[in-house]
Symmetry: D2
Subunit: 335 residues, 4 copies
């Protein structure tokens, strides 16, 4: 951490500040220039309150040098993390790519088994489906809940695909003991107590970026999970909130190469929520593959216009199969 | 709800759509123009999936006419809600104004009692203080927790001020049984299961706007609480995330008059988190008062440069007293 | 255009409003429901002030049905526009793809001719290079100006590549008479008088999206050019301003398929300015190709670390050649 | 400027970098820590390309210490600038406050003289009115142009109020020779050639913040004007673009105290464009006054529902008079 002091700082003020910093067990390197004096703080600066330091009378500005995330940091873990999922041991990360497909909401046994069968035939490696649904309105359909988990298990049994579904509530964690990937949604990405709880399991966690979350915040949320012992974190870009209204969110494709530089964790892209419109899903999924995503998460419904939730952004199984074919060619081109 | 159909829709397509809508128990008014046909949907449209409707082949666009929030809607409840807080029966809303002041974090008994005593003397009506702290980093100070609640109770006993503190975790709800205002923070404003739980209590709930939350989302979150039976919701503007970096957040003062038009619930402003810098707190608190806020929430610390958390944005008790005096004059000018 | 009237509007008020609208030569269709009355306004609504209408006592809300751009609108011009550039008649749009490459700033004859020669060899079809540079600071290098245009002409002569460079000032238009593509930068996209002037020429205009411009604003700016008679407009996505700070801008790849749906004009992507970092250019250029861009604009410098401007985001000629090869494979995969 | 080097930088690399920096006439202070080496660059760093420096192999990050604006910087000019306007010598800044009021567009002589007379009676010190109007659509009313300037002169003659109106085009500058305040609109705030031209005059310039402009960009644009010799710059906050859609823009009231800290130039707030709705203008104008604005710019129309432009956000003269009274009380409270 570096602190730049204002012109005119007296030796006594400087000494006072240095003493205070040393009491936090930091080494302080002083570099005095003609206009400014710069302090380099060496040691564990993760507990220094940058804002407080910056607010002191004599301090002009403060800059953090090292990233505040540690276990997620590629600097300390240069090799890509490869995550193994479910009994099928599907791999994600480090060159292993997986399509994750399925309906927004699990609706009934016929629907989920038909969709699972068809996306598997088209090349999907993992089945997704919502049982507990976070809805902005208390009056909207909130998902089948526990019954939805049962139906996902039935679809896994029928197809062998590992299953991925969202956990919203600490109280439900027991019910998720055999879910293959626990998804933490965008609205819960800073529900820190929930993060700590899933950090105590050994399950793969698919962690979505916040609705207007920075990449650093996403990594700090991954750090919450990892600091409890669970290193199986998959990061998911799902679009960010901007002023543009033609799309539901602005899918930030650049998050993929940026995250690959910052962290060793695998990165998945969700173009269905990221755009909110089915016609945008194939080009944006292709873009994600071109940018190096380790996985893509696609909403597929056997009958989009009858979907109970988010049908507007679902592909049909045939559209998904066509997309999957193109994605494979793009991935080869980028190797 | 209004649906605009594309030019070239056939009578058969139109009939098919109308039948589908009627099966959802909606009345459909058809207005055929030369270029477009407009459908007016009458009835309970809160469960219609706007995005799905908009995605149909023949539909050009869809518009919701009525706001999706009901219990929070001023249209159905024109009188301002007045909320009574604690044994002291402090009133907020409908012309009743309250200053809410105290430290970011409760640190120890001396600190919280001294701050409580001094802010009370300066005109504060409610004491705030963090016991459970949501921190972006798992390595940062997370608050005194249960012990912090005890210290707040001691400060209430010493001063008579009702106490306001943040709840982050469903499991902690029992510990909050005698807290006078339960705060739901910006990061949990769409933690819908937490909202439902506090909706089952009869406590005043101070609900902060999301980090990049829309006003409609804030009202829908209030609706989650109210739909479970708790109508004592206080809305809190705390700054939104924008591209500007000189301030931590952009405090959206216009949220006050906009919310007053949309809802009968009281509106409080938090300029301390909203700006992140102490020198900005007095002018922005004055601005909030001028815009008609029902309350203002200010971080005050007896020794800001020694605060364990967010000292950079805390006022001293003397600065708070000076601010309070000015706010009172402004409130009179605006009546 | 549709206006929704408030519950409780009297017949006299309704008649008064309808008369006012008819005086603007609009046909008015009235659809009275139990809760709301809806007016459909037919005719040329482009001059109706939506905000004024929405502000009237009895009006609840107003919605524009048809897009406000006309000549740029795909609805009235379903076929893709193909633009021919320069004496070389390079085509862009409607399936014709072009790489546009060159340095941020033209620096001297050796530099521009070397870069031009090398990007041509690597597959570029058009040479870009800045002569007049918009710089945030008056103290920064502002480009070689007129001399830079001369050097671009020399590079065109040496390689046969058409040249593309930015016009900032109406006074300079004469100097651009033989420039093959006139670029209008992000900061001038709503400099309406400049748009009108280039609209009076027959030059291809490369129009960049505003720093925080909506897609509709971009199309309205294209409309300014087209309404003066020049239909040769190329739209350019160059990243938008968001709260995220890891990248200079957030490159909105979804702009490509959205614009292709809304307009017949070709769409180019600039990943160099869009990200600000060289390591992000190849993956984001690949993503743009996957999403269907008609062209990609890449900064290439023979010695990035000595570039006078924006060297940090420039590729070397070798990196550009490698990228171009991959882009071609991706484009085939998406056909 | 400070550059932080990566762990593992060799002495040869360090020397190479230091030599390069010294060739730019910078003094380099080297501070070697155990984990990082920090370089302090002393001298005129305004021409160093931060992005280029940051992109070098061995550089971890770069930080600018001093603000890049000089003439606008309060550090070098601690006293508030006071600007004298027109023959009436109306003062703005340094404790001198002025209400600027008038219609969005000048429409005809009766209108502008009536509005001018009434806003003067209500306390306005300066008349505003649009003659040349920047409109998003080429099909919208573009203002009366030259005739509008004539009508403003007539209103000045009738009332003695100085006049303020927008310049959009370098070619029109001659026509503005006797306009008392030349306004540069949000869309032209980075039209650098226009800024340089008005910088060559001695007129007061009212410079609006960009639609999504940072405060630093606003100050750099002021710097463009000042670097040409014109120090009479008035900064104007007019709302920024965010994701929130209830208001046209998010009026950033905190810009007032932040700008007062950064610069000596006066700061005006425009709540009419900042919110887009008349009912929000009085509370937001009051908020601006409370936050310390040196002036407030209000749209007033004698018949808002007949205004040719932006009537939805105009106050009536009576509403303006009431607002003015309250603003005066608030200003006293804050002194």
């Amino acid at each position: 951490m570096i602190a730049v002091l204002k012109h005119g700082t007296t030796p006594a003020q400087l000494q006072h500040l240095v003493d205070w910093l040393k009491r936090m067990n930091l080494d302080v390197h002083i570099s005095e220039g003609t206009e400014v004096t710069v302090l380099g703080l060496i040691g564990d600066t993760s507990k220094v309150d940058m804002d407080l330091l910056a607010s002191l009378e004599i301090v002009q500005s403060v800059k953090r040098i090292s990233d505040p995330f540690k276990q997620a940091n590629r600097m300390f873990h240069p090799m890509d993390t490869v995550i193994e999922i479910g009994e099928a041991k599907v791999k994600l990360g480090g060159g292993h790519f997986a399509m994750i497909a399925g309906p927004c909401s699990v609706e009934n046994e016929d629907q989920i088994i038909e969709v699972a069968t068809r996306v598997k035939a088209a090349g999907a490696k993992i089945l997704r489906g919502g049982a507990f649904k976070p809805r902005t309105s208390p009056y909207a359909f909130q998902g089948l809940g526990t019954e939805g988990l049962e139906l996902l298990r039935a679809a896994r049994k029928a197809t062998g695909l590992p299953i991925c579904t969202e956990l919203m509530n600490i109280h439900h964690l027991d019910q998720f003991h055999d879910i293959d990937i626990i998804q933490i949604g965008a609205r819960n990405v800073q529900n820190f107590d929930l993060l700590k709880e899933v950090g105590k399991t050994d399950k793969p966690i698919l962690l979505k970026r916040g609705i207007a979350g920075t990449l650093q915040e996403l990594l700090m949320s991954a750090e919450y999970i990892m600091s409890e012992g669970n290193e199986n974190v998959i990061l998911c870009e799902r679009g960010i909130r901007t002023y543009e209204t033609y799309t539901r969110n602005t899918l930030d494709i650049s998050a993929v190469p940026v995250l690959h530089k910052l962290t060793h964790l695998p990165v998945v892209v969700d173009p269905s929520h990221g755009t909110g419109k089915a016609y945008l899903v194939p080009p944006m999924a292709a873009a994600a593959a071109a940018a190096g995503a380790d996985g893509i998460m696609i909403e597929v419904h056997n009958n989009p216009s009858k979907a109970l939730c988010d049908g507007a952004q679902s592909l049909t199984p045939d559209q998904f199969a066509d997309l999957n074919r193109r994605v494979n060619i793009i991935r080869e081109a980028m190797q």
